[in-house]
Symmetry: C2
Subunit: 265 residues, 2 copies
Amino acid sequence: MNAYIKLIDCIKSSKSILCVGLDTDITKLPKIFSSDLDSITEFNKAIIDATKEYACAYKINFAFYEQYGTDGFRLLENSLKLIPDNKFIIADAKRGDIGNTSKAYATAVFDYLRADAITVNPYMGYDSIAPFLDYENKLTFILALTSNPGSNDFQRLKVNEEALYTRVIKTTLGYANTQSIGFVVGATHPEELAEIRKIAPNNFLLIPGIGTQGGNIEKTLSANNNGPAVINVSRDIIYASDKEDFADRANEKARSYRNLLGTIQ
Amino acid sequence: MNAYIKLIDCIKSSKSILCVGLDTDITKLPKIFSSDLDSITEFNKAIIDATKEYACAYKINFAFYEQYGTDGFRLLENSLKLIPDNKFIIADAKRGDIGNTSKAYATAVFDYLRADAITVNPYMGYDSIAPFLDYENKLTFILALTSNPGSNDFQRLKVNEEALYTRVIKTTLGYANTQSIGFVVGATHPEELAEIRKIAPNNFLLIPGIGTQGGNIEKTLSANNNGPAVINVSRDIIYASDKEDFADRANEKARSYRNLLGTIQ
């Protein structure tokens, strides 16, 4: 199934635009878990079970798994298998390399791990993104204006009177159809989010930065203007408690976010 | 040991600025190898043995391993262990994410895999690069002007009269000392390489794009003007022959490149 359609379906069935980020770090797990690496999968299972009623999607950030090497990659694979089929899977890998190399990354994420979507970095241009877009039934989220402080360093530089991130969006919109390309736009920039929504009214936006990073929900929703979007929350949900009640607290947090976020019309 | 000093030593001891890229793809191995994934490590061992006399460094591109999932990551780990201690190891991963996530990538590459250097993408700005620079004894190669056709799409955009890649170099030079930061500059852009050499005269440059990608050796050496640099060749060496003589041909190709490239003075 086409990923764009799948994501719309996932949003409808969960009545939620919440994406839960599985940025799982062994050092931050509730104390009831052992320090064995397999605790990561156990924790993820508990979090997925506790939040799936209120989430349309899960985002898994590769860095948190790669730091444990081969064992970490196995935990990543196993964690992805725990996500129900009716949830959308975003591989938050921020990849991008010369053509033949990006092709191998696309194989990793789409063929091997069977994710529905990936995040990619646009700096290396068309041939670094095209191999992901060749998977017409997948969704490729291109980094536009990210949620972190460093987004001010290059993404906002002016190129012919417009910001680089705007140029990135306008150029990459020409690379493939609306259903294949999405953009990453941080909730920490609501004014710019409103602008971007106008430039790309029908493309999915992946919006991180709510919660620990400080993005404001009302401003984000207002800026998004009911466009197709998923809003990611990671740490504020998965680490809602470091005690035995962590799953109950994650469940409550996810429900609370779902209710605050509403759905797209 | 400080990676900058180590790389200078590796160049001196091998009398070579050649870096061999282990972009190993199971479908391109000589026919004497079985289709079992472990053939990748066997092939890499043969290539490392055949080329180590003429190479100062090895660059391993993560994409070619990640495409096989957990098994691939194991092959990557095992391949890195085959590289002699007196050779410089570059993790060609092109990573970059928000601060706490880049920290996990740095852990993966520097603590876990024990590489000497990594390639990183600058699009997300300072806090996406800083966690790598926190490893003062490692070298972080920042993508500046890459070797691929897509380098024209964003890297060359004019920002206040100068190209974005120039701005990236000038800005990131301020992030850490000369010995911690290097830049990736494609051999396919010799004129710009000459400019960059002037902006960053003492930083290491990692120069890919020679061989299959078409970069010219003489123009590259002239543009580099004897600055600190390593020149990477991947496919043209490792796939020099698809027959039983692949290691001998790789040895000859590496020697030939070493002799053509010379060393830095």
